[in-house]
């Protein structure tokens, strides 16, 4: 069975004002139900790429297609597109002036104009799923980092996105909190959620990915199944990068 292609980019290019190239001719395609993990050294353009997929940042040239429709960033359809592409960021991006429940309900109410009782029920179920049902009336500052990120995932999920973008969601967390967040992501992957994940957690990448993209200096250097990539990387640059995660015993 051929999987349906849901998101595609063609020759994306982007430079910073100082002329430094962040994205260099990136052509990428994502199929429904697929989990793609992007890894690479800091500053390689992976987070920028993710933000471009969601139209949060403009590109200099190239096209982004959602279900075979080219998306124009200047057009109103961007707002609809963003409802279909959920995103969770590295830092805790919950709204500090709203309770956990209101954080989750804001977009379904204001953007999707959904029924209050229905969304509230769904929000409570999702919170229960990530083990935070008792936290719905507290404010973000009363939660730990891991708890906040789980809420951020719920906030994205309640919009019923077709794709979820996760931008280094555990990079700012204490090690013992990383697991509780990644566990949620693994479950989502098992349920068939389409995801693009940027991460530095190699073991997690290996476990969750259907496909791994290795980026360096704005270019996709290598691409393959996690098994191929982690066991026998083809390029020298990828080997070097992966070696940084190994320590030799004395």
């Amino acid at each position: 069975m051929r999987l349906e292609e849901i998101l595609k980019t063609e020759q994306l290019n982007k430079s910073y004002e100082n002329g430094q190239k962040v994205l260099n001719d990136i052509t990428f395609s994502l199929k429904k139900g697929e989990v793609v993990v992007i890894i690479g050294p800091s500053g390689c353009g992976k987070s920028t790429f993710l933000r471009c997929l969601n139209m949060l940042e403009p590109v200099d040239s190239g096209a982004i297609c959602f279900k075979d429709r080219v998306i124009d960033r200047a057009n109103k359809e961007v707002y609809e597109l963003r409802q279909k592409i959920g995103m969770v960021f590295q830092s805790y991006d919950l709204f500090p002036h709203l309770t956990i429940l209101d954080n989750i309900l804001l977009a379904p109410f204001k953007v999707q104009k959904r029924e209050k009782s229905e969304v509230t029920k769904e929000a409570e179920e999702l919170l229960k799923r990530v083990g935070l049902s008792d936290k719905k009336d507290v404010y973000p500052r009363q939660l730990s980092g891991g708890q906040k990120q789980r809420v951020a995932i719920v906030r994205a999920l309640i919009m019923h996105p077709e794709i979820l973008l996760l931008d280094e969601i555990t990079a700012a967390l204490d090690p013992e909190m990383v697991r509780e967040v990644l566990q949620v992501v693994l479950e989502l992957a098992r349920e068939g959620m389409t995801m693009v994940i940027v991460t530095h957690e190699m073991d997690f990448a290996r476990a969750v990915a259907d496909r791994v993209l290795f980026m360096d200096q704005g270019v996709v250097v290598e691409e393959g199944s996690p098994k191929e990539f982690f066991n026998s990387p083809k390029t020298e640059r990828a080997k070097q990068f992966l070696n940084m995660f190994h320590y030799e015993a004395r």
């Binding site: 933000r51 707002y79 409802q83 002036h97 977009a107 953007v111």
Partner: protein
Amino acid sequence: MQNLGIQILFQGNNFLRLLGGLWVSLKLAVLSMIFSICLGMLFGMVMTSTKKSVRVISRLYLESVRIMPQLVLLFLVYFGAAKHLNVNFSGGTAAVLVFTFWGTAEMGDLVRSALESIPVHQYQSGYALGLGKMGVYRYIIIPQTIRRLLPSMMNLLTRMIKTTSLVVLIGVIEVVKVGKQIIDASRYTVPDAALWVYGVIFIMYFAVCYPFSRAAALLDKKLRD
């Protein structure tokens, strides 16, 4: 009770007159504050503009208002406008104009720093949820900005209330001026009047400003964590 001085407060309608004067001061301050808040919000947003020329001009405005004593501004508007532009403002109008001009600059700077202190991720997560620009400002940025602004806004208001005492000099009869009239009128009968009248004015200013300053401190503490 021979010439204790305190009786000056209860002679005729002296106390009521002082309260009336206080009302004039408050009216000027509150009116200017309302205008300053409205215009300052706009000016604050202008100040966050990415255009360099806009930033430079707004900076110039802010700095020149800060450097110039309010008294000079009052004289400029009250006497200057009458002499050179042939516009005769009443003392009250001139005062509100000057305090608004000053308040807008100060308020704008407060709004600017409150806006700039909101992390860019707050905007991005709003957009990522499908909110439009209006929605992001209305539901996410403005509520947070106002929280951060409240304490410093209260401080500005108390400063403004105190600064209204300058308007005596352009002929507005506010609380200090009323006090002076009462003292002058009874200079020979009640020589100690000054102490009591100014004492009462002191308490009046305190009674008006303290709640604001207290509220600012409490809010600051509450919103900190």
